[in-house]
Symmetry: D2
Subunit: 400 residues, 4 copies
């Protein structure tokens, strides 16, 4: 892994927490990054991976080249070679290890949602800020080239004032015919919420990244299937998180919109879609076709040719594409993590700010405030108003 | 116009109120229906058209073959040859003429929204029910073949239990660069509401037609541009209706969803879209591609070929298509009115019930209740619960 | 039908030959035109319809309002009230009635393909030219708004030099599972060819309309199912025309491209698609979504937003749309005939030239030359070069 | 790179020829494969890379971890650690190094087109067959999951008899406004042909892979821009290869179709599309949306729901997807090389046959025969008939 030695790029020791879906996605990115990004900002050294299942850990280490394994995350955090904790564990393991790592002076990159509640997220934010380490939340869709292009176009004023943001994130893996067991993602103690933390968090972050802060939330939630077989076959377990939510939202800048997420939309696999309407144009994005961005621009005096254009975001002038292939040779979902981790390593290696291109724990906390508001609005049947008092770092809604 | 005499189909005298967009769309349908639908259920006789502008009336009469014109709708209602009042006037002219016509024993077909408020709609409903005449509301999208197919598939249980209904109706004709004047549609006195009555009414009706009654509404509204040039050039006028709304909704049957409408979605022309997710499949429809219906069906044991299918709803076995052209030869927006008016004339001629295929004043009233709830929720920042007390015919929310 | 009397638009007596698909489509347009097109260029008087089946004729007359019926087309041509012969009969009835009508001084509008062979078409062309009557061929896709827009954009030079034209016309009504009988369209004596005359004729005309004359053709054809049940149940009949063809073509201006047509493309209903690539942009059209045109324009210095745009060709500034509905309210296939017949009536009433906006018998003849070349190339397995000697009006390929 | 030691998978020494686009794509795959494919069939050891430019070689070696570099491919072939020559060089460097490697007993994986002419390809085929080494041609689109699914569905008889195969491969990188220099790809001596070898070779292979052998070809070609700036700025150079081609084709099994390719289709970036129509259904694929496959199936007795379905080919039951991410999390273009090289390494490690899943030099040779036929047909203006005499391994068309 020392191929880039001559480039004089630093090596950064990474400790990975988790070996499931997200552990794999992050590890894949860390392994790909040194030859994919040219030159790489730093070379990740895959020091160790931690988790509970020793067999799975060994397999993970062998596959991705981790030097050692730990069955207790405290050992991972204590490992002197670990400079960066990459926290890909379940939601209930986000706070304690991240805080411990920060206190040990390590940088922290944490999966989303940052925490189960805004209160928990806030404690994490305080810890990393106090420790002065770099912190990031894996809102990886900021690192889709088409999404970055959307952000840049909006920043350039190409859409003018924004009127609307509507986003949905639809999946179907909890449909009855799959008979999906009650994983940790369906248990409030471990997950905090269901579709809200998993799906709303992503589209809330996109709304904040692209449009601005969300000020008001009116929401409804549902748990359509409230009992599921336990993974170990020992019977059934209660599902005490939401399967789905829908929310009307308003932004600080006056725009209104909607957020919607579900794991019960038959045929929708990873259908994250947003549309933004502004006074000079509109934008539309669909994660299942992540190499494309739809753009409508109001054009002076030639309206006979106006229409939504489908931009193939694969030109070398598009964000990150110079690292990849010729136009039309598409990239995939995993590339978002390569971009994101390259950015985070660059922030560490060259002491650059993670925000606003990447998401920090502050972003994770603010997204959590909106997620909390969805829960609270659904319970109280009233609109929740959000106020961001970041100076004092006080959460404005109470953790459940 | 007596071509169908040999068929022994009755002639029904129609009095048209209005000569603008909707007056034209209805008249076009009434003129096309006798040769388009074979055999026609009745032959509309275009007795008279009423409105305020005599020049426009004459032009309208000449174009569509109305026998006479009236500048006072009372004369239209009083005309003995008029058996059916087709009310295509502005919203503030829906109640009085429709009620008067019913009292005069005439059938009434009224544009949507049925009225400016649920209270007004309720009075209309009482009048037609009392008079025992046939009554219909021009929720013409029930008469899109793809929508009817969707309804039939749902009724057959092809989607199983419904989890979600999301609908949006996006247009852009109020975008700043068009400098659209303050028409009656932007004046509360004449229109009642803006996008709500115009756009929400349609998608509320589709939700009711396809899924069931709506029980809860949490909404936000906006008026982004609150002053516009007056049509007569005499200065500017206040816009006191909404430009846009967004609502989270829940249905009696437990489904949740969203409603969204705006006249400020750049590039969206007549983009009415709904998606329904059920336990056995999903449906998606887009009015700008009204000859197509997207359907996903959960299939036993062959999931490698599962996907959303795009049905060209142009086969002769599809609703109404036997009257039209071979497969793939698409029909247009105006055809929905031909289907709808053929249905309504059939109900008159053969004393058939307008509902549930067509919408009655009861449907118009219930849609108005939801529209009122959107307004009320946006004002009160709380969720509005709807209870339909049809026995007593009492509106459950108060007209504004 | 005299509603437009005050407009002082002339009445033109129409004699219709045929009562099947095309007879219906033309009649529908003639009946719609007076109120759809405002003001109409002329009012068609539906004098008579001719055909062989008296019952069908009576039904046709009743439905569309024809004053009388004839079972011999000679009587139709002889009818003094008939000023225009609208020939919607099968291909073998195109030549004789059209020539007779021209000789009787009547204008002629004929369905496509103009004739079974270029030789036959040439005789028709000579007859109408000699008679000095207006002549048109129902290449109705020239009258799709999106196609007209495409033509206008190309004419304005928006695409620059044209490199490629590729077109396909795919249907599936001869698929085995439909068990379609051997209609006249599958009999060489009556139809001339199969998919070639039916489908190639249309896309050849579009190629000529949009790009220019075709100079070279290399083709293959197939008859996949060569025996079919006779319509009268009396056994089976031989299919002696092509089910499908494919051709490489070159244009006079140097562009190359392809033509492809079949009646055996499962799932393709009326899928007529073309794409044109030029030095400054590309165009794409699909008849099943006829209200849309896809356009790509090479743009100076802003390539990050380049992409194919989907134009909703429904704005009032788009061709013919001022006669129809607001943006996004789509029109259908039948509207192409309304536009085309309005144009043809205008040419008669105001002595305007049918070409280049509409297709004349010269266009019908030239399309027939290309169709003949497809047949000849497939038989001879060599490229056929076309030379248009219009001065002498000699067909350059021999009729089969 | 020895992470998989415990798995007892063999290490295979790879020598890479070329460091441009294809050298990078193959190297990226070889580096990703050990952790992406679990378990990997073998671990590629990146022994050496050869090419002419020493600086570029060093950069390439550093980026991807090659142990050494050679400026003469003969040294690469002679390197004892090299067991597999991966030939990613320009077309004129396909034959000699591949033949030398085979003669040295090394396995050979070669970029497409296999050679500049069928004659050259044939010599390569003879060499590898004689040497008894494994040989493969990088027709990587066989390794798109959607394409493999298409192949499997056809094999299962889901489409029945095939009537049509139409394919196009459209790009725009030679458009005038890019002012692309005369690279080796535009020089006949180095490239053999232009769009034919580059683009036709791919779609010919797909036609062969999915439908069967091609028997007849009628084609046209064009060089629209025949002079371009030389890369070194020393003036302009002649383009003596084709920019574009179009061909009508027929298959041994009776199907007919079309092949079309160009580098001058404005807005088309890597638009490789095919559609197959059979007696029981149709398939459609577009490389720019490579995670999707469109499928239409004729269904008994429920035709009201028939339509083209868009399969998200991202389920774990789909080809290769178990190695990747959850449904809807798309993969990219580069993944085709990971699949293909994993397959080829597996064939080496476990002595499995490369065909029919992968393409061998026999496939490369047969594709070259069709490419030659395109050239010859365009020159001779007649249809070329192909006969595959594989026993004697005699090319049936003469190399140019």
């Amino acid at each position: 892994m020392s191929d880039n030695a001559e480039l004089n790029v630093p090596e950064i020791g990474v400790g990975m927490l988790g070996y499931a879906f997200m552990g794999r996605a992050h590890s894949n990115a860390l392994r790909s990054l040194p030859f994919a990004i040219s030159p790489p900002p730093a070379i990740p050294r895959l020091v160790a991976v931690s988790g509970r299942d020793e067999v799975a850990l060994k397999s993970m280490a062998r596959r991705y080249g981790y030097e050692r394994t730990y069955t207790d995350w405290r050992d991972l955090v204590a490992d002197e070679d670990v400079q960066l904790l990459d926290n890909g564990g379940p939601n209930n393991l986000h706070a304690a290890p991240s805080i411990a790592a920060a206190e040990a002076g390590k940088h922290v990159f944490c999966e989303k949602p940052l925490a189960r509640t805004a209160g928990e997220a806030h404690a994490m934010l305080e810890a990393v800020e106090k420790a002065g380490v770099k912190h990031g939340v894996a809102f990886n869709y900021r690192f889709v080239p088409a999404v970055r292009l959307a952000r840049d176009l909006i920043r350039q004023g190409r859409l003018g004032r924004i009127y609307h943001f509507r986003a949905m994130y639809l999946q179907d893996w909890l449909m009855p015919h799959y008979n999906t067991p009650r994983l940790w993602r369906m248990d409030r103690e471990q997950a905090g919420t269901g579709a809200i933390g998993d799906l709303a968090a992503h589209i809330v972050d996109l709304g904040r990244f692209l449009v601005g802060e969300i000020r008001g939330v009116s929401a409804m939630t549902r748990t359509f299937i409230d009992e599921r077989p336990l993974p170990d076959g020992s019977g059934t377990g209660k599902v005490d998180v939401d399967d789905a939510f829908v929310a009307a939202i308003e932004f600080e800048n006056g725009a209104i919109g909607s957020l919607e997420g579900t794991r019960l939309a038959a045929g929708r696999k990873n259908y994250e879609l947003f549309e933004i309407n502004g006074e000079k144009g509109s934008l539309r994005f669909n994660l299942e076709r992540l190499n494309e961005l739809q753009l409508y621009l109001v054009e002076e005096g030639q309206s006979e040719t106006e229409g939504f254009r489908t931009i193939m975001v694969t030109e070398s002038i598009h964000p990150w594409l110079k690292h990849w292939w010729p136009p039309g040779h598409i990239i995939g979902w995993e590339h978002t993590f390569i971009h994101e981790l390259a950015h985070f390593l660059d922030c560490i290696a060259n002491n650059r700010p993670v925000a606003p291109d990447g998401a920090t724990f502050l972003d994770g906390y603010r997204a959590a405030l909106v997620c909390d508001a969805i829960v609270e609005s659904a319970q109280s049947r009233r609109q929740i108003e959000l106020a961001y008092e970041d100076a004092g770092l006080q959460p404005t809604t109470q953790p459940r």
